[in-house]
């Protein structure tokens, strides 16, 4: 019934081939329940685990020595920690976009990729949440951002974007977790019923909360799931806008700009979709699920990347234009120094990655060529990290007083924490694939049922 699934002729199918329901749930849950994962899976996991250890060592070193241990100093007191924070939180946003916005728009192609995209969101937010804390001089006092009764009788400064940020990230993490768990419930019940060993039955059984697929339950579930999606959509936009307000509320040249909120949100989607492809392309190959995660998914994700990317490019242009058009000496100097000063190599690399390489995605042949698409996704990931870093450091490095100009020096600790967090993120993704179904079973079944591929 491949034609029925394909829809209009010439379009790429969302699902390939004919599937019946036991086959779908069996294949997806077998990845988890049989537990016989290929050797390269564990090799890759242990490679990531080495970086987890590096991450732990770096954090311990940072906390015991102090923030001077990585390369921040006057005038550049916002360094890689803030850059990493913005980069990671941005990566998380694509997961919410796929799971919430595409659900509301009733895009059938989201069904097989939303689960791991949401997991990606959770892990990316977990990584992002660490960085503002590590950036504090005394990280163990981070809870002072909460309105807790204390002997100082102080309240948080409600007018500060840093406090808003804390509220936004905490809300985002909680809502993402609940949305993800809710999506998992029916699939956990499938795993409970398919599990052979007693410990697995208990584990999935307890997590499934006794879900039995009753029609009454499904009706309430569906209502709430759509409403949660409707809540998550403005939340995503607000979270990254608030992150950008951390910058724009300062009068530092290069930070103080009204384009920042939409520009940051678009950048978040660009880097997030790049990360989705970075995970999806090896995943569909490693577990031979090319008929569930099809070229259609890859094609659509690449199209969304170019859409978000063009807005980011508009943001670059707008930043430069308004720096010049404002007539402000300091803004103009900062922009000039960004392009031709000490950070010029990074700036032009960023433009090459996010501006030039991105344009390749206009070509359908590029979007459907997996090795090339994977390479582009990696390049965009790198480009977006550089973008965050350039924004964070160039402003303070070219402040109002030329006598106090200076650059951030990168130390081993900057790299230890950055690559450590990347390794930890992927280690978590590997564990997730091992323990929970990486593809949403019930939605793929529904899709197969609707399209006449199943009975």
């Amino acid at each position: 019934m491949a034609e029925a699934i394909a829809g209009k002729p010439g379009a790429l199918p969302v699902l390939r081939g004919r599937h019946d329901l036991p086959e779908i749930s069996g294949r997806i849950s077998a990845i988890v329940l049989d537990g016989r994962l290929p050797r390269y899976f564990w090799t890759a996991f242990f490679a990531c685990f080495v970086f987890v250890l590096i991450f732990l060592y770096s954090i311990t070193y940072l906390i015991s020595v102090g923030v001077g241990a990585y390369g921040v100093n006057i005038p550049v007191v916002w360094g890689t920690m803030i850059g990493n924070f913005v980069w990671w939180i941005g990566i998380g946003h694509a997961g919410t976009l796929i799971s919430a916005v595409l659900l509301l728009l009733r895009q059938p192609w989201r069904a097989s990729i939303n689960r791991f995209a949401e997991a990606m969101t959770l892990f990316a937010v977990a990584m992002a949440g660490l960085f503002p804390i590590l950036h504090l001089g005394r990280p163990w006092f981070f809870y002072w951002l909460l309105p807790l009764p204390n002997t100082h009788m102080h309240w948080p400064q409600w007018r500060s974007p840093l406090v808003w940020d804390f509220a936004a990230i905490a809300t985002y993490a909680s809502v993402s977790l609940m949305f993800w768990y809710m999506g998992l419930l029916p699939d956990l019940a499938v795993l409970r019923d398919r599990a052979k060993s007693r410990p697995a039955q208990l584990f999935y059984g307890i997590l499934a909360l006794g879900w039995r697929g009753s029609a009454f339950h499904w009706a309430r579930y569906q209502t709430v799931y759509f409403l949660m999606a409707a809540l998550a959509t403005p939340l995503v936009v607000s979270v990254h806008s608030i992150v950008s307000l951390d910058f724009t509320f300062a009068i530092t040249p290069g930070f103080h700009s009204t384009i920042f909120p939409p520009y940051f949100v678009a950048g978040a989607l660009l880097s997030g979709f790049a990360m989705v492809l970075t995970i999806a392309i090896p995943l569909r190959w490693a577990f031979s699920v090319q008929d569930l995660i099809t070229l259609r998914h890859m094609d659509n994700a690449a199209k969304l990347m170019i859409a978000a990317g063009m807005i980011v490019i508009y943001g670059y242009a707008s930043e430069a234009f308004f720096a010049w058009y404002s007539g402000e000496t300091y803004e103009r100097t900062m922009m000039w120094q960004r392009a031709f000063g000490p950070y010029a190599p990074l700036f032009w690399t960023m433009l090459a990655c996010n501006g030039a390489v991105l344009q390749l995605l206009w070509f359908r042949r590029v979007r459907l060529n997996m090795p090339v698409l994977f390479a582009i996704a990696l390049i965009i990931n790198v480009g977006m990290w550089i973008e965050r870093y350039v924004i964070v450091v160039t402003g303070p490095s070219r402040d109002y007083l030329p006598s106090s100009w200076g650059e951030q020096s990168l130390r081993w600790l900057d790299f230890g924490i950055l690559f450590g967090s990347i390794g930890t993120f992927f280690a978590l993704v590997f564990l997730f694939i091992r323990v929970l179904p990486a593809i949403t079973i019930f939605e793929v079944e529904e899709l197969a049922g609707e399209r006449g591929g199943a009975r």
Binding site: L21, W158, W164, D193, L209, G210, G213, A219, V224, R455
Partner: protein, 175 residues
Amino acid sequence: MSLYGVIAAFADPEALTEAVRTMRARGYRRMDAFSPFHVHGLADMLGMRKTRLPWTILGGAIVGAVFVYGLILYSVEIDFPLNVGGRPLHSWPAFLVIAFEAAILGAALAAFFGMLAANRLPEYYHPVFNATSFTYARGGKFYLLVEAADPKFRKGVTKGQLTRLGAETVEEVEA
């Protein structure tokens, strides 16, 4: 061991929907259907009232926003008023940001826990799990359960009716 009801397995959602419609028309009221994914309109046919959960979620949003905005207002106006260059204590544009986040958080908490409460989950024991033909996952089947508590329920008659509606298997469920 008492009888809880009779469960019939159907091959596809259309057969299940048809069976539900017929059984409702025959006057059965205490029925439940089970499916591996949401079958549209099934709950309405089974006589489910319109869910009030959207109102719960709206309530959660309002409680979250009002609580946090009130907390901020209490802190800046009553507990620790701080005059900085004559700027207003009640700077509402800045306070709306956190109130918005709190509204979303309140709504999401109400949605998640409201859904669980309305569905009476977690519920680790339910008689339907006793039926050997019922596995939520393995068969990919669609089930109709008629409770013995239904006034129209007659064991032999009900089983015969379900079989004639095209059920693949019909089984008694112990409570």
